[in-house]
Structure formats: structure tokens, C-alpha cells
């Protein structure tokens, strides 16, 4: 028999994988997440063993600090520094909390780690516990992740049975246990002080800092809160050393970052690239370019609180500083790619609607301010906006950014501010010309029949759900704009391209 011995491609040979470097997602999809043995076979719990048997807590913190690892949940605070704040605090009890309240729409990197490699997070939490002197950990996870919850429960049980969690881990004097706390799906509970309130059983809403959780956190005890992806980096940093980790990335942003690639792009899904990879590489190489060969218009990075980057930013090497400088933010790593058919005013409205609904309601700038901003955007996208509204929108956005209590409110205006900055012409078209250049905002659209092209077949009139189209057969038809609901059914049925929208 003649076998076709065609070469099976290596991961590196595939354009989608080539620029990627998997650290946090290393085991996802490769091991059975329900088997602690498979995790151990991939060097699992070796880092914890190394910590408790060979390293002092100070040395562990030193290693994490040296690695340059920064928080992957949004703000990018140096993880080692955070641990170093909590370590010297004197208290009868300290806590390690894992923030698994992933709430950005379309983001699922934490879910992937928790479902695909749960022990990695447990191991990292135990290491954090050893480093700061905590004996209890909590994972605050949204109840909407039932598989992740189930696998974490199983993983905790397995780890306890094997003695890598519990009393006197690896025969040392270090004891550590982990419990789950299920969140009810409020976006704001991803904010650390709101998360702590919710974990304690109170209404999930933030409080002003200081005091920071490292000093007074869960139940007013010193607490370290790390995001899932941050923790997923820890075991490997301990095993491979800080230098290995800091060799990846840019000067101030080390390692890799997972992004949830979504939108009008050919390859969607989770990607993990070294810090410093350009937006262009992400979109065109990893993402395989824009769908349907259309033009790239913008990328919303950092979730609903992030900002929009434009084609002018394609060359930007993605790291914490460069994104902030470009008016966006790393956030938890949502990356939504938009093509030329996207209306940027509508997009800003969409993201603001999300944060407005998710506001906890504690402080007026976020509670009322985002509502007023949304109302102004509604006015603009329905053709009722004025240039004065645009000024109000900008000043309001700045006030909300500067005066809100927590990061949710402080960053809620970002999509508006960045689209005004980068696509002011689109706002002005909506306001001054009552026109949506991308043809998205329904109130500003009208469907018309070209009498030159229309042969009077009547198909469109039949398709119209509101009987807005009239005409005599074999003669050009017309649309009654006062009845039209802009559903587009007529345009879809017309075989002669006689109907256009503008």
C-alpha cells in the first residue's frame, strides 16, 4: 500500500500559532483537567514543592518581583509588589483571593484556564499563601461558569486528598486551604473591593481605597487578590526562574498576554502572545485578517472599559504603557476587531450601555452620569443631537473619569472619549448632517427604490412586513418613509439591486 506521507504541520508552521507563546494556556487542551496526575506529569505542583522546601517566603516574593509579572486583570499592578505589601502585615489571619469574576462581554480567558487547567490556579494560590503567610484562599467565581466551578471543586478535593492542599503541605509547617465563593454575575464584582464585599456576603459594591486590601481586605484582614491569568503564570515563573519570564515582553511589561479575539476577523478565539507584539501581527497574522477582505477600522481593546485603537495604532507594540498612551487599556484582554461597516458612535453607545447597566449605583457620577451620557448618545444616534450635546458628552465623560469611586466608573467613559478623539468626524456627521456614515444607526437610514432599476416585479412589496411599499405591477415601486421600519427585507428580496440604503 502506498501511504501518503504528507508532512504533519508543527504548531509553529501554522500562521495562527506562529507569533503565539503559551504560558498561561500552556496545558489548556493538552491535559485532562479532571486528572491531578496529568497536571503533575506536566510538572504540576513542583513549583509549590520548591517553594515550601527550598525557598523562604521572602525569596518567593523576590522571584515574582524580579520576573516583572504584572496583574492581568486590568490595572497591571506589579504582582510581587502586591505580595510584598501583604507579607509584613501582622495579623492572626491573612487571605489569598483569586478573582475569577470574568465579566467582560466576549472575554473567556480565565474560564479557559479554570476549565482546562484548574490545578495551575490552586498551586499558584498556595504559593501566594506561602509567600504572604496566609492559610486560607477563596476563589470568587461567577456562577455562570458551571463547568469551571465543577472542575475547581474536583481539583480542590484531589489536591486535598493528595496533600498538596491542607495541613503541613509536603511535610512542612505550611498549611493552606481553598474554598469557592460563587458570584451572581455582577460585572462590578470584578472590582477587588466589591469582590471582597460580595465574598463576605454583602452587597457587591466597591469602597474607597485606602485602606488597600493588602492591609485591610477580606473580613478586614490582610488580603492578596490576584486574577486567574496572573496566577496561571506563577508556577512556571517559580520553576523556570524570573529571568526566563522576563526575557519575554517589553521593558516594563513582561511575559505574555492572553487575548480574546473577536469581531470581524477571520480567526476568533483565545490567543496568547508575548507582550510587545504589534496590533498588526495580532490582527493580520494571528487573526488572519478582516473577514470578507474588508478594511480594518478599529479595535476595541480592554473590554467595555477600554478604548478604540485605529489603523494609526496598528504598529503599536501591545503592552500596558503603550495602550494607555493610545487611549485604551490592557484590561483583562478583550480584543474586538471592527471593519469599515461599523459605526463608532453606535459602538461607543453599545459599550456605555453595558457599563451603565452594570454600575453598582453607589456614586452619582457613575450612577447618573453614565445614564446622562447614554441619553446624549441616544439623541445623537437618532439624529437629534446638537454640537452642544457633544460638548456636554465630553465634559461629562471627563468628570466621570476623574470623580467616580471605582475603576468601573473611572473607565466607563473610555469608549466615548476614545471614539470622539479618533472618529470625531463620525459624531459630527450624525449631528450636523443627520447621517450615519456606516449605515448602522437605523433612525438615520432610509431605504429607497431606484426607479431606473426597478422593473415593478412587486416582490419587495410582498416582503415588506408593514406594507410600506406600493406601486403598480411592471411600474417602479416606492417606499413610504413614514411607514418603513428599516428592516431591510425589501433590499434582501430585490433581484435587480434597485433598493439602496443610505
Amino acid at each position: 500500500m502506498d501511504f501518503n506521507r504528507a508532512h504533519v504541520l508543527e504548531m509553529e508552521d501554522i500562521a495562527f500559532f506562529k507569533p503565539q507563546k503559551r504560558v498561561a494556556l500552556e496545558n489548556c487542551g493538552l491535559i485532562d483537567p479532571e486528572s491531578i496526575e496529568e497536571y503533575i506529569a506536566k510538572d504540576g505542583y513542583f513549583a509549590l514543592a520548591k517553594c515550601v522546601s527550598e525557598m523562604t517566603p521572602g525569596a518567593v516574593i523576590e522571584e515574582i518581583t524580579k520576573s516583572g509579572l504584572r496583574g492581568r486583570g486590568g490595572a497591571g499592578f506589579p504582582t510581587g509588589t502586591k505580595w510584598a505589601f501583604a507579607a509584613p502585615e501582622v495579623a492572626d489571619q491573612k487571605y489569598v483571593v483569586c478573582n475569577a469574576d470574568e465579566g467582560d462581554p466576549g472575554a473567556f480567558m480565565d474560564r479557559s484556564v479554570l476549565e482546562g487547567d484548574p490545578h495551575r490556579v490552586l498551586e499558584a494560590m498556595a504559593i501566594a499563601g506561602y509567600a504572604i503567610g496566609a492559610s486560607q484562599g477563596f476563589i470568587y467565581i461567577r456562577a455562570e461558569y458551571p463547568i469551571a466551578v465543577e472542575r475547581l471543586r474536583l481539583a480542590i478535593r484531589q489536591a486535598q486528598e493528595l496533600g498538596v492542599l491542607g495541613k503541613n503541605i509536603f511535610g512542612s509547617s505550611f498549611s493552606f486551604n481553598i474554598e469557592l465563593r460563587l458570584g451572581a454575575g455582577a460585572f462590578v464584582c470584578g472590582e477587588e473591593t466589591a469582590l471582597l464585599a460580595s465574598t463576605e456576603g454583602r452587597r457587591g459594591e466597591p469602597r474607597p481605597r485606602p485602606p488597600f486590601p493588602a492591609v485591610s481586605g477580606l473580613f478586614e484582614k490582610p488580603t492578596v487578590i490576584n486574577n486567574v491569568e496572573t496566577l496561571a503564570n506563577i508556577p512556571k515563573i517559580i520553576r523556570m526562574g524570573a529571568d526566563w519570564f522576563s526575557a519575554m515582553g517589553t521593558e516594563r511589561s513582561k511575559g505574555t498576554k492572553v487575548f480574546a479575539l473577536a469581531g470581524k476577523i477571520n480567526n476568533i478565539g483565545l490567543i496568547e502572545v508575548p507582550m510587545g507584539t504589534t496590533l498588526e501581527t495580532v490582527i493580520n497574522e494571528v487573526g488572519g485578517g478582516i473577514q470578507g477582505g474588508k478594511k480594518f477600522k478599529a479595535a476595541q481593546i480592554g473590554g467595555p472599559s477600554g478604548g478604540c485603537l485605529t489603523s494609526a495604532h496598528l504598529g503599536v507594540a501591545i503592552d500596558y504603557e503603550s495602550l494607555t498612551q493610545a487611549g485604551a487599556m490592557m484590561g483583562s484582554g478583550g480584543l474586538i476587531v471592527m471593519d469599515e461597516d461599523t459605526c463608532m458612535v453606535d459602538i461607543a453607545r453599545f459599550f456605555l450601555e453595558f457599563t451603565q447597566e452594570e454600575s453598582c449605583g453607589k456614586c452619582p457620577p457613575c450612577r447618573i452620569g453614565t445614564k446622562r451620557m447614554l441619553e446624549i448618545l441616544d439623541k445623537i444616534t437618532t439624529g437629534n443631537g446638537t454640537m452642544e450635546d457633544l460638548d456636554h458628552l465630553e465634559t461629562l465623560a471627563e468628570t466621570i473619569r476623574d470623580s467616580s469611586l471605582c475603576a468601573l466608573g473611572q473607565t466607563a467613559p473610555n469608549p466615548v472619549l476614545s471614539t470622539i478623539k479618533n472618529f470625531r468626524d463620525e459624531y459630527e456627521a450624525h449631528i450636523l448632517e443627520k447621517r450615519c456614515p456606516s449605515g448602522v444607526c437605523l433612525s438615520l437610514l432610509s431605504y429607497t427604490i431606484d426607479p431606473e432599476k426597478c422593473i415593478g416585479c412587486g416582490l419587495c412589496a410582498k416582503a415588506c412586513p408593514v406594507e410600506a411599499i406600493s406601486g403598480v405591477i411592471k411600474e417602479p415601486h416606492s417606499i413610504d418613509q413614514s411607514k418603513c421600519i428599516k428592516c431591510g427585507a425589501c433590499m434582501d428580496t430585490c433581484k435587480f439591486s434597485a433598493i439602496s440604503k443610505k
Partner: protein, 596 residues
């Protein structure tokens, strides 16, 4: 306390290291505006009005919660700060009814004052407003959530200071509102009607149920014989309604103003406060000497009584069965008084003026009526009396002092001090000691039960009995703490006094409002200032023991017989009921929603 140096608008100031920036700024002579902040009650940094710029801190920071640290540099009046504060208040106003002209808090509204101080002349933001139905379910408290600005002072006072917890946050984002759970009204849950929420509300979202209208009607009715009683704490605070300094006793002017309002007789709750001491005192003596249920716990605070009914039903037997002074007065007003005056009891309309909103509930309790008519027909708060005096155009400040009518207007110093925490205990001891021991009390003033400490204790050596251990709590959280001690049997007391409101009746939910700014300006707690007026009244009296009140001896001789006698039992004593958390079942619709 360690001292740190901070720089506020360039002014160097040394403050203790536990100060907030707001407090340090006051010391530097800089007044930062506030809204949700209320000293000792609410410090949560929610309203974003007290924002300042702090060097090396991100964004603007709420000065009411930001701790000072060595070398901290703060800027309180930069363009950014001023603009942010103004816009925050403009946003609040954009979701506010703006019915200032007809609002009960007009000219006394902290939001109104703030808007003026910040120079707000128009509201640039227009949009949807939250509107809610006014909650009229309670006999004491009216809630208009449409006016609420979500400062959460009421939530803090209800959950922390009073530990009742019927007010909380509901919904989120723009739809956030404050209220009892499951969309119940405050009258449908375990609210104690203490009215502390009204006292702390900066706007007109909370007020008492109005009784002025029915009193005006009664006064205008020629067939009604309208009599009035005034509680001890009213005279210690009524002057504030007319701009007199806090702590000015105004007993004489109060009596004069009531006469001018047209009351047929102006009596005094002090009379029945003395009567309460006699009845309750004898109850204590009886229980002490015959092995009755101990400790005896006072029952003159209706907020406390309802709290006990909801939260400590197992201790109801410990409550003194003696009615409160208001209700003892009411009972006599519809029996003893018309009988001795030879008038038709049905024509008597009995009004009380109270520092209290829970009294409006108390007078409606089914136990508090005779033959279907309530003993007390209307309860005015101190604030409502102030409003009536203003409506009648009476120049309160310049009124002459007048004396209350006899016999039910006569009271002793022991009755005066009922208005302060520890006062009922002190008054009771003045009588109980002398009745048991047959000797005069060596010192009338019992220092350990005075003052604003949450729970106070004292031990007295009473000849012919021995040691009597007493305790006093004010504010319901303190009461709960003390009751748990009793429940667990950790300490054995003979007699306990509880008042629902912090500071006692002087701090009652019906008293003149003390704004946040006024509380900050005072060197001490406002309750302590009012208490001084109460103790001054006591000291100024020759009769300072309830059993020395001649009008009391007369009422026993002519009518009641003896303390704890049959007539007393019928008219002056009552019973209590255990209550659950909700007065009504959860609506079906809500149940269905919660299942979903």
C-alpha cells in the same frame, strides 16, 4: 496619638494620624463641602462631593475617607475639583424632583444649601428621572424615594446605629433605590418607627406622618375640648426651631405658645412621667421582693418596645407592664380628667407633643384605647409643633414664660430627666430607694448612668434590700448588645433602662433636625448639648422626686386608689405581643420572581 504634618492648599497643619483629610482641612480652616458624610454615622465616600486633589494619588479622592499621612499634599479648590463637585451635584439634581417650594425640607435642605454654595444656577443635564410611589404604609414615617439622593445615611443609621436593618439598597445602576426588602413599605416590616432615618436625611425623602392637620381641625371645632401634653425632651429642643441656641430650655415659652394656638388646657407629660415612676417603681419593688421576673426592663420608649417585640420576644415578660407616660396621660385624659372636670369624655381631644415618631405608632396600638376611642388622638413631633407655631404667626422667641395647668401639668425634676438616657433609671431610683429603705437618698444625681456611653452600669447599696444592679442602654444597637448579655445570663441585673434613640429622647426621631454642617461645628454630640437643658430643669426644681408630686398623691387619693391597684392595672398597665419580621406575607408576584 502620633502626629503627622500635612499640607492643605499650602497650609501646614499638624494632626493626629487617624484624621481624615476632611477633618485635617477643618483644622487648617478650610471647609470642604460634604453631602453623604455624617459625623459618626456615615463615612463612605459615596457622594463624591468632598472631592479633593491629592498629590500622587490617581483621580480625585473623597476627603471624608482619605486618611492623612506624613507629608501629604492636598489641593481642595483647583479648577478640576470645583468643576467636578459642581457637576456631581448637577447630576444629582438632574434626577431629583426639584419641588423645593413645596418640600417639607425647603430652606432646611442640605442639597439645596449645597447647590447654592456651589453656585449652581441651572441644571445642564436633562433626562429620565426615577419616580416612585410615596410610601404611606407606616403610622410614623413617610418615605418619598423620588427625592432620595442615595447618600445612605438612613441605611447606616438603621443598620448600624439602630441595628434594625429595614432599609437597604435595592437594584443597581440608575435604578438603585433605598427601601425595605421585597418592595414592602416601612409599615409592613420590622421597622421600630424610631425615626432616626428622618433625623439623618439631608433632603425631603423621609419625614414624619403629619398630624398637624387633624390638630388644626380639632382646635377649630367648638364641640371639642382639646388638651395637650408635652414630653420632657420637647422643651429642651423646641427653641432650635426658632433659632435659639441648642440647649436652651423653653418650657415657659412652649406653654405660652400652646395657649396661643388655642388649646383648652396645657398640661405636661411630666405629670404622668412621675406617675410612671410610681407604678413602674412599685412593679420593680414587687418583683425584687417577691421573686418576680428580673431584670425589669423599662417600657416607656415605644421604639424600643417594638424592637423588643420583633427581635427579643423571649424578653417581653421582663418589660415593665407600666404604660409609657404618653399613654398613662391619654388614659387619664379620657377618664379621670373629664370625670373630675365634669365634662363629656367623648368631647375630650387629647394631643401630645413628642420628640418621637414611634409615639405616633404607640397611640394607635389596639391596647391603647377605651371603648373604641384612642386615649391619645394626635401626636405632634417637636418639629410639627414648631411648624404650627410658625403657621400661626406666633413670635415664639419673645413670648413670656407661662405655667402649665393644674393638676395634670404638674411634674417634678425626676420627670424632666426622662428625656435623657439614664434619666428614667435615675428618677426610678430616687423613688425606689426611698420606698424600700425608708431613708432619703444620699445623693440625688446618679453620675454613672449619665452621659453618652452606649451601655452604662451602676450598683447601688439599698438598705433593707442590699445590692441593686442596674444598666442603661440607648440606641438600639446598644440595647441589642445589652439584651444578649441578659439572654446569655452573663450578668445579673435587677433593673434596665432602654431608650431607642441615641442620647435618649433628646435625640428622638421627632426632634429638630441637626444638619451635617451643624454636627461638624459642634464640639460635642448634639444630644449632650440638649441633655444639659434637661438637667438644668431638674436642678432648678424644688420637687425632684416623683413621689413628692402633690398632684400624683391627689390622683391616687381621688381616683386610682393605690399603685398597682385594680384601677391602675386597668388604666395604666399594658401588654406586649411577639412580632415577626414582616407584618404581611410576601406578595405572590415577588415569590414567583424570586423563584425565577
Amino acid at each position: 496619638m502620633e502626629m503627622v504634618t500635612v499640607y492643605i492648599d499650602g497650609v501646614e497643619v499638624k494632626v493626629p494620624s487617624d484624621y481624615t483629610v476632611l477633618k485635617a482641612a477643618r483644622k487648617a480652616g478650610i471647609k470642604i463641602p460634604t453631602l453623604c458624610y455624617l459625623k459618626d454615622v456615615n463615612q463612605i465616600g459615596a457622594c463624591r462631593v468632598c472631592l479633593v486633589e491629592i498629590e500622587r494619588a490617581r483621580g480625585l479622592q473623597a476627603s471624608c475617607v482619605y486618611p492623612v499621612s506624613e507629608g501629604l499634599k492636598v489641593h481642595t479648590r483647583t479648577a478640576k475639583v470645583l468643576s467636578a463637585r459642581k457637576q456631581v451635584v448637577e447630576l444629582l439634581l438632574s434626577n431629583h424632583p426639584q419641588e423645593c417650594l413645596t418640600c417639607s425640607r425647603s430652606t432646611n435642605c442640605e442639597l439645596q444649601t449645597l447647590a447654592k454654595d456651589l453656585g449652581i444656577t441651572d441644571i445642564p443635564f436633562v433626562g429620565e428621572k426615577n419616580t416612585y410611589e410615596v410610601d404611606l404604609s407606616s403610622p410614623s414615617i413617610v418615605r418619598d424615594a423620588s427625592k432620595c439622593i442615595l447618600c445612605r445615611r438612613c441605611v447606616s443609621v438603621c443598620t448600624q446605629i439602630q441595628q434594625v436593618g429595614v432599609l437597604g439598597l435595592i437594584n443597581r445602576g440608575f435604578d438603585t433605590t433605598v427601601g425595605p426588602p421585597f418592595k414592602h413599605g416601612v409599615g409592613e416590616v420590622n421597622c421600630t418607627n424610631c425615626g432616626q432615618c428622618i433625623n439623618v436625611c439631608p433632603v425631603g425623602a423621609l419625614k414624619e406622618v403629619d398630624h398637624t392637620e387633624r390638630v388644626w381641625e380639632a382646635l377649630a371645632d367648638p364641640d371639642k375640648h382639646v388638651i395637650v401634653q408635652t414630653a420632657p425632651a420637647v422643651r429642651a429642643a423646641l427653641g432650635e426651631e426658632f433659632g435659639l441656641p441648642m440647649g436652651t430650655p423653653v418650657t415657659g415659652r412652649m406653654v405660652a405658645s400652646l395657649r396661643r394656638l388655642g388649646f383648652d388646657k396645657v398640661f405636661d407629660t411630666n405629670f404622668t412621667a412621675d406617675l410612671t415612676i410610681i407604678e413602674e417603681g412599685h412593679e420593680v419593688i414587687e418583683r425584687l421582693t417577691t421573686g418576680g421576673k428580673l431584670p425589669v426592663i423599662t417600657s416607656c420608649s415605644p421604639g424600643w418596645v417594638k424592637f423588643c417585640e420583633h427581635f427579643f420576644p423571649d424578653l417581653l415578660e421582663n418589660l415593665s407592664s407600666a404604660k409609657s407616660p404618653q399613654q398613662m396621660f391619654g388614659a387619664l385624659a379620657k377618664s379621670y380628667y373629664p370625670e373630675t372636670e365634669k365634662i363629656d369624655p367623648k368631647s375630650v381631644y387629647s394631643v401630645s407633643v413628642m420628640p418621637c415618631t414611634a409615639k405616633k405608632f404607640e397611640c394607635q396600638r389596639p391596647e391603647m384605647e377605651q371603648a373604641g376611642t384612642p386615649d391619645v388622638d394626635a401626636v405632634l413631633t417637636t418639629r410639627e409643633l414648631g411648624a404650627m407655631i410658625r403657621q400661626a404667626g406666633i413670635d415664639f422667641v419673645n413670648l413670656p414664660d407661662e405655667k402649665a395647668d393644674a393638676p395634670m401639668g404638674i411634674g417634678t425634676g425626676a420627670a424632666d430627666i426622662f428625656g435623657a438616657t439614664g434619666g428614667v433609671m435615675e428618677a426610678a431610683i430616687r423613688t425606689v430607694y426611698e420606698v424600700i429603705s425608708g431613708q432619703p437618698l444620699p445623693s440625688l444625681e446618679l453620675a454613672p448612668v449619665r452621659g453618652l456611653e452606649g451601655v452604662k452600669e451602676a450598683t447601688l447599696d439599698v438598705p433593707n434590700f442590699g445590692e441593686v444592679r442596674v444598666a442603661v442602654a440607648h440606641g438600639l444597637a446598644n440595647a441589642a448588645k445589652l439584651m444578649r448579655v441578659v439572654q446569655e445570663g452573663k450578668k445579673q441585673y435587677h433593673f434596665i433602662e432602654v431608650m431607642a434613640c441615641p442620647g435618649g429622647c433628646v435625640g428622638g426621631g421627632g426632634q429638630p433636625l441637626v444638619t451635617s454642617a451643624d454636627r461638624i461645628a459642634l464640639e460635642e454630640d448634639y444630644q449632650a448639648v440638649r441633655v444639659k437643658a434637661i438637667y438644668a430643669e431638674d436642678r432648678g426644681k424644688t420637687l425632684r422626686k416623683s413621689h413628692e408630686n402633690p398632684a400624683i398623691s391627689e390622683v391616687y387619693e381621688k381616683y386610682l386608689g393605690k399603685p398597682l391597684g385594680e384601677k391602675s392595672h386597668h388604666l395604666l398597665h399594658t401588654k406586649y405581643v411577639a412580632r415577626s419580621k414582616y407584618n404581611v406575607p410576601i406578595p405572590e408576584q415577588e415569590k414567583a420572581e424570586s423563584v425565577k
